[in-house]
Symmetry: C2
Subunit: 235 residues, 2 copies
């Protein structure tokens, strides 16, 4: 946690009483006592400093000065075949930290149906993982997460129009173009463990996705997502 | 597991009896029955195919044909402040899959001493995580792992000579040069959560490390390692 994130309702108060998780972090990791300043941010808003007050009821923050803007977003929409729940949690942290603000989770032939009803897919669970990524990366803007449990309507009716907004890339093992940074917005499609089936890959290419390669090594989805975003954010 | 890895001693036998983990994978994930071929590799050696035999005693492999070389290594030495054990395990998988063949784990001021005696540091534990990465990426060559529990002797006496072999880079938050692929071999130094302390950073720069940036977002070490390697392996 490199930033203590506050809900907008909390930040509107003159003194913010922190919950156990944030209190513990300030006391045990930052080892901050009364009078010291810590970096704070308001979810969806600005970043700045606040003064720590340690007292009988716990840890409070006062004298908020919020005068910095959050860092620039990574101009990438990540379209991702829904991974299994533990990997989804980690990926949400990675990509929130890397600055992605739009994530579309899609169903594909190799996604297990049960993943859609896992507790990791609940709104509060998704939000919690994204907040961990933002706290890490000193950012306040949550990504917007969309779910598309039906592959074809999404790929045939929605995806083609995205080409108007920038590049539309499909991460593949074998592709003549390497995955590299693009000018403008990029939408990047990453398949499930085991990859898209041939029919899906064909539909994605018909929708206008251009295959790009991360190299010939078969990476786990978690590794591939971070590697691809690092390439897209590169020089 | 995209490759069934065999110990050299196993591969020398005419019929290889597989342990439970590899047997389960062949039966439950690949759903391969007797007579089907699967991809196999010999640890440290070649890659090819073998024929599955399912019988009363379990799963066996026969008729090994090993005629492919493992994929090219990533010409990167990763010098990493020893992370906490669960993150070390995941990082070993990520970087083995990405093709790193030389990893140097170092002590720094912000590395907890207890990490050095954790069970994740045992040779068999490290080897197991690396094998998972190789099985994922269809590779057979284990990385060489060195440990340097003393920061200064390593950074002052060993690291400077590495410049002769190629680039020597230090991943930093703020650096004028972005992290990008280099010609020739690259040695990349990545600090602990919280970063190197000022004294360590100064010693690393005296040793010849050139700061490079992954962007201004503070990433967890696990995310930063994958992101940096993706940049170094890029076009």
């Amino acid at each position: 946690m490199n930033l203590v994130l506050l809900e907008p309702g909390e930040a509107a108060q003159s003194v913010v009483h922190l919950d156990a998780r944030r209190s513990d972090h300030i006391r045990r990791v930052l080892r901050a006592g009364s009078g010291q300043q810590v970096r704070v941010g308001v979810i969806g808003g600005a970043i700045g400093r606040a003064t720590v007050l340690v007292n009988d009821v716990g840890v409070e923050l006062a004298a908020l000065e919020l005068d910095e803007q959050p860092p620039r977003a990574l101009s990438v929409t990540l379209v991702l075949a829904l991974p299994r729940p533990p990997m989804l949690r980690r990926i949400l942290q990675h990509v929130s930290a890397m600055g992605v603000k739009h994530i579309v989770l899609i169903h594909t032939a190799r996604v297990e149906k049960s993943y859609w009803s896992s507790s990791a897919m609940r709104g509060d669970a998704i939000r919690r993982e994204c907040l961990l990524g933002l706290e890490q990366a000193v950012d306040t803007i949550l990504p917007v997460i969309e779910t598309k449990p039906h592959f074809l309507p999404f790929v045939e009716d929605e995806l083609p129009s995205w080409r108007k907004h920038g590049s539309l890339l499909l991460a593949e093992l074998v592709a003549s173009r390497p995955c590299a940074s693009q000018s403008g917005h990029t939408s990047l499609v990453i398949g499930p463990e085991g990859g898209f089936v041939a029919f899906e890959r064909e539909r994605l290419e018909v929708a206008g996705c251009q295959p790009v390669s991360l190299g010939q090594r078969v990476l786990r989805v978690e590794t591939a997502v971070v590697a691809a975003l690092a390439r897209l954010s590169g020089p």
